[in-house]
């Protein structure tokens, strides 16, 4: 599904056009370029809602929003890579898997 700017504004009533444009300008939201203008997809809409929550429900000041977004983006990046790594380990033969798990336990114990 893709949405025009007006569709997005109709769906998220606590957002105004100028705010949205500023967020796009700031790079907080990166909509795709459609034939007749920018188009937003589900992930953009969910991210816009998140920014509304941050600013309105959590009263995060505007200059802190990029800090929070950057941290959230990093968390998602890290989570994705870890999940992929876990999958890669999962696909190994039993003995390699066991060796990785054993080594992981040793390392995390040492860290304590």
């Amino acid at each position: 599904m893709s949405y025009s700017e007006s569709d997005v504004l109709a769906r998220i009533t606590r957002l105004d056009r100028q705010e949205l444009r500023i967020w796009v300008q700031q790079g907080w939201i990166v909509p795709a370029q459609g034939e007749t203008g920018v188009v937003y997809d589900e992930i953009d809409v969910a991210r816009i809602r998140l920014i509304c929550d941050l600013r309105q429900d959590m009263t995060i000041p505007d200059d802190m929003v990029p800090v929070v977004l950057s941290l959230i983006d990093q968390v998602h990046g890290l989570r994705r890579e870890f999940r992929t790594l876990a999958e890669a380990v999962e696909h190994q033969p039993e003995e390699i898997r066991a060796a990785v798990i054993a080594e992981f336990r040793t390392l995390t114990q040492d860290a304590d």
Binding site: R21, V24, Q25, Q26, G27, W28, V30, Q33, G34, T36, G37, V38, E42, I43, A46, R47, R49, L50, D53, D57, M58, T59, P66, L69, S70, I72, D73, Q74, V75, H76, G77, L78, R79, R80, E81, R83, L85
Partner: protein, 314 residues
């Protein structure tokens, strides 16, 4: 957890609306699911808190709840898709993800840089760089508002990127609203020997007070006086390339359209568009007695009824 919205928000029954709002904000900061990707319990708790807040934030609804007219469960909230549902979705790498967090792992383990370094190619995520060796820099996206005339006739603009770098941008004549200009190599720097990404500048064309655009054609509504229309006089018409003189046909009406061939937008390639002139007869602010007398005489000699076709059907 209790179903009592006051207990959920941790406020007294006598709390003011302001206290309720404050309590909700505090809880949202600790419980918002997007701040805890992967934590299912936090999401369930946040849903309850949001529901409780939805019920109590409106004084009228709160009064009805207090009076026992509605119960807390009457406030079902539609399931909401949080950002993490998309950002955390499996499969291809998310648009906003950043794996900059792995950059320093390269010293600790070649495995990580082998695994994650290559991914830098697919884009940076907000505010993050990429880990890795040779990779093309990410494209940066910008939005730019352009004056109607600059978009129509072309021109040069110097814009400064959010990081302060100025970029000279040449605007091609006939630039359309929403079009994207690609500036090669002006995006994020590449990793290692990788080339820099591109800057993609999306253009919003500011509307003009009297010119409108339809592709390469320009449209304008031209106010003319009654006498200019009757006599078919010469009038001055603004075009995007300056004022031109145009002779009105004798006895022209409001709404008539005239065409100025080739006076539209001249794109770099192809033929120029036209300017369409839509006439609108306007009256002076003040009608003098003399004008009235003239109009009365006009009435006496002209038997024209423009509403004739309406009359027949009624």
């Amino acid at each position: 957890m209790s179903d009592d919205p006051y207990k959920i928000l941790g406020v007294e029954k006598s709390a003011t609306q302001d206290e309720i709002k404050k309590a909700y904000r505090k809880l949202a900061k600790t419980l918002h699911p997007d701040l805890h990707p992967g934590d299912k319990a936090k999401e369930a708790e946040f849903q309850k808190v949001s529901q409780a807040h939805d019920l109590l934030k409106d004084p009228e609804q709160r009064r009805r709840f207090d009076a026992g007219e509605i119960d807390a469960s009457g406030q079902e909230r539609p399931e909401r898709a949080f950002y993490r549902n998309y950002a955390g979705a499996g499969g291809t790498r998310g648009r906003y993800d950043s794996s900059a967090g792995f950059q320093d792992f390269a010293d600790a383990s070649d495995l990580f840089s082998d695994l994650f370094g290559r991914r830098g190619r697919s884009g940076g995520g907000f505010g993050g760089g990429q880990g890795g060796f040779d990779a093309r820099g990410a494209d940066s996206r910008y939005n730019l508002e352009v004056d109607f005339m600059d978009a129509a006739r072309g021109g040069k603009r110097s814009i400064s990127m959010p990081d302060g770098k100025p970029i000279d941008l040449s605007i091609p004549a006939g630039l359309r609203d929403g079009q994207t200009l690609r500036l090669r190599g002006k995006g994020q720097p590449g990793q290692g020997k990788g080339p820099a990404g591109d800057a993609l500048v999306t253009v919003n064309v500011r509307p003009h007070p009297y010119f409108e655009r339809d592709g390469n054609d320009i449209e304008i509504e031209l106010p003319v006086t009654f006498d200019e229309a009757v006599l078919g006089l010469q009038v001055e018409v603004p075009t995007i390339s300056g004022t031109v003189s145009m002779k009105l046909p004798k006895g022209t009406s409001s709404g008539d359209r005239l065409r100025l061939k080739g006076k539209g937008i001249q794109p770099a390639k192809g033929t120029a568009g036209d300017q369409h002139v839509r006439l609108k007869i306007v009256m002076p602010d003040r009608v003098t007695e003399e004008m009235e007398a003239l109009a009365q005489r006009w009435r006496d000699i002209a038997s024209f009824n423009p509403r004739e076709s309406f009359g027949r059907s009624s």
